[in-house]
């Protein structure tokens, strides 16, 4: 019997505990958990359209999750995803609203500028970390606020059409929504973004596992000193890692503002950026893990509205569950210790029976 629980098992146990806590909360306000979870699940899956919405919610989470996870692998904590999303989305929106090209070209340009925008917003904290050892957590948080206001005033100055609270709507050609998908999923918000996200997953998977770049990044992430001592350029990798993480976040911005929505929302930091942290942690910072975690969260987010419409359970329960799951992933040692205790018991029983091991 294995003494070390593997990461996947830990994540699953954490998820279970999170849901358990959610159930207790439901009970605490006198609602029936079984009912609650049933509607939560139904809300995310019971119709083609809802499945579509679950996936389109997941789309952005996949990319934000990847962004956080990728930085994690290099030992960096990217809390700046929201800001990078905003900038990426802004760049894409500017292009979408101003340029006039055949659709494929237009979308491609939007994709590129989104990546670049996000990457730039990621490079800055990367540089500060690499050159001045400024803690990336604080730096990225500052970058978030700066992004918020930059977007706010840029949109108001150049991209407003009538409403003060968001940019003008993108023309249909500049949106990731395509009729046949919308039809297929009975008018859900699912769009080409999902394709982008899935490609990103595979891309990152390859980089991390198969390339020398991934080798370097992981070496730096696990042991900065050893990497340096063996001739790997640590600063370069830190900057690179934040750049790629930023680029992924930029893509998330693209899928959110030009796919899920059809205009640039101003005055708020997109929550998906922070959910990305949860997704990455639950997905143990691996591309496929992120994919699964994102879809799971997609169900929670899409289902919670229906649940609260059918019951008296506030939708905030979803975020509460997610938060608690993260706490338990962070404290997986607790689970580990319990596991070891269980093993000990088993063992001592065996030995008592005169068995050896």
């Amino acid at each position: 019997m294995k003494k070390e629980l593997n990461e996947v098992t830990k994540s699953l146990i954490a998820t279970f505990l999170g849901l358990l806590a959610g159930a207790l909360l439901m009970l605490s306000i006198g609602s029936n958990p079984i009912e609650g979870f049933t509607y939560l699940l139904k809300g995310g899956t019971m119709s083609i359209e809802r499945i579509g919405n679950t996936l389109s919610t997941a789309t952005t989470l996949i990319l934000t999750g990847l962004s956080v996870a990728f930085a994690f692998r290099t030992g960096l904590f990217n809390i700046g995803v929201s800001g990078q999303m905003l900038i990426g989305g802004l760049c894409a929106t500017i292009v979408g609203l101003t340029l006039d090209f055949p659709r494929p070209i237009l979308l491609f340009i939007m994709l590129i500028v989104a990546i670049i925008g996000g990457a730039i917003w990621g490079i800055i904290p990367g540089l500060l970390k690499a050159k001045f050892n400024v803690h990336e957590v604080v730096a990225t948080i500052m970058m978030n606020w700066i992004a918020l206001w930059v977007v706010y005033y840029t949109v108001q100055a150049f991209l407003i059409d009538v409403q003060e609270t968001q940019s003008a709507d993108l023309p249909a050609v500049a949106q990731l929504k395509v009729p046949w998908i919308t039809e297929l999923f009975q008018g859900s918000s699912l769009n080409l973004g999902l394709v982008v996200a899935l490609l990103a997953v595979i891309f990152i998977k390859i980089i991390l596992d198969k390339t020398t770049l991934g080798f370097e990044l992981k070496a730096v992430g696990f042991n900065r000193d050893a990497a340096l001592c063996n001739g790997i350029k640590v600063s370069r990798n830190i900057i690179l890692s934040m750049m790629i993480a930023g680029g992924l976040a930029g893509l998330a911005g693209l899928t959110f503002y030009t796919g899920f929505a059809e205009n640039m929302q101003i005055g708020i930091l997109p929550a998906q950026g922070f959910d990305g942290i949860a997704v990455a942690l639950l997905g143990i910072s691996t591309p496929y893990g992120v994919l699964i975690a994102a879809i799971f969260f997609g169900i929670l987010h899409t289902g919670k509205g229906f649940m609260s419409a059918m019951t008296d359970i506030p939708p905030q329960i979803a975020n509460t569950i997610i938060a608690i799951i993260i706490y338990f992933t962070a404290t997986s040692l607790l689970i580990q210790r319990l596991w070891v205790k269980i093993l000990r018991k088993k063992k001592s029983k065996k030995n008592a029976k005169g068995g050896v091991d």
């Binding site: 390339t211 042991n223 000193d225 050893a226 001592c229 063996n230 001739g231 790997i232």
Partner: protein, 507 residues
Amino acid sequence: MKDNFVVEMLNIRKEFPGVVANDNITIQLKQGEILALLGENGAGKSTLMSILFGLFHLDQGIIKVKGKEVKITDPNIANKLGIGMVHQHFQLVHNFTVTENIILGIEGSIVLKIKDASKIIKDLSLKYGLDINPNDKIEDISVGMQQRVEILKMLYRDADVLIFDEPTAVLTPQEIHELMKIMKNLTSEGKSIVLITHKLREIKEVADRCTVIRRGKVIGTVDVKDTSEAKMAEMMVGRVVTFKVDKQDAKPGKVILKIDKLSALNNQKTLGLKEFSLEVRAGEIVGLAGVDGNGQTELVEALTGLRKIESGKIFINGKNLTKSSIRERNETGIAHIPEDRHKHGLVLEFSLGDNMILKEYYHPPYSKYGFLQFDQIKKHADDVISQFDVRSGRGNASKAATLSGGNQQKAIVGREISSNPDLLIAVQPTRGLDVGAIEYIHKRLIEQRDSGKAVLLISLELDEILDLSDKIAVINHGELIDLVNANETNENEVGLMMAGIKRGEGQ
């Protein structure tokens, strides 16, 4: 029983995940004596003493102090029982003053009374002849001084059982001599001492009795005056040990490494290495002797490219590498066995295979078009593993973290040597290893030399330097004191030089 023991540790057992550090160990300390604990690295000495001092909880066994059974669950209790400990790795807060470090934990009042405490400390240090300024910051005083702070810590807590864990590892022979005096003073003042050390000579010099530990078990306790060093060594290792490494004379060739007036800053941003010049030729081992913290680290880091160079030049085979990156230096033929294998040598979370290509992953055959070539990587790893018999659970696939210290070190040595360098810089290559591993690695270093490579050996263990080196360079306060032929000098001379006293100048 007539013997009045101040401390008795009876049938102590302590397990760590994976290791039984102490296995049914019994030691007894008499009033007023110096008891030596002898054992290889990892034998369990520090653990045993940490238990006595309340840092670790014992799994089984009894501790008696002055005949009374006691439960020592944390250092406070140890202190109350009059037990003090100087740890192998000093336990001092670098940016606190001497006084603050000493009173820490027993301040005696809610609002600090620094002045009063300083006074007491001053008096104590006078009484035992360790003169020290209570108001200095730890980061500003020498290692020897720091050790005295540790001693004062115990005296301030008026401990009468004093534990020294490898106190001499970081001292010059002269400082060691000082320390021995101090210890004698202490015992004559009625204190009892446990002394952990690897160095038989020291035991001979001060200890009354010696308990030998091997792999967590007590081999025996002997009276020092009627036991030979060889005998104790044999007990410690479990077989007869050859103290001398057998090697032919060196056949030095052309100059491989030329260091020219090299200067570099230390972490306190002062000159840690001052106009240091040295040459290492093909086919010779140059050993750099010196007390810890006298510029060895700065020199190594400057050579390998980890530290910025203030002035001076570095040449390999005549090629100027002064401004080159770490990688360029590797490619030009420098290999480096780092001092701290966990921090600099390995990526513990990586597989052994990945660690074996840590320097070379980016070029063929290990990489094509930026993609890793796993079959090649495995092949290379397996070669090193078999050549340097690196023992591990799952061969090239096993995580580096799962290897024992010795095997981790072998793996690093293997990686560095297999890159077939012109210059091998070996820093403390046998630190924390048991005798078997030590002998093995020493052999390999000699092999390198004989195959016409240049080897620069940096070690704190003077014996290691004397055994392996063809030439010995001595460094003190970042300056080269002298460069001598190994067979024309002796421990004493080198010791003096380590203290900064040049040949001829003297006494």
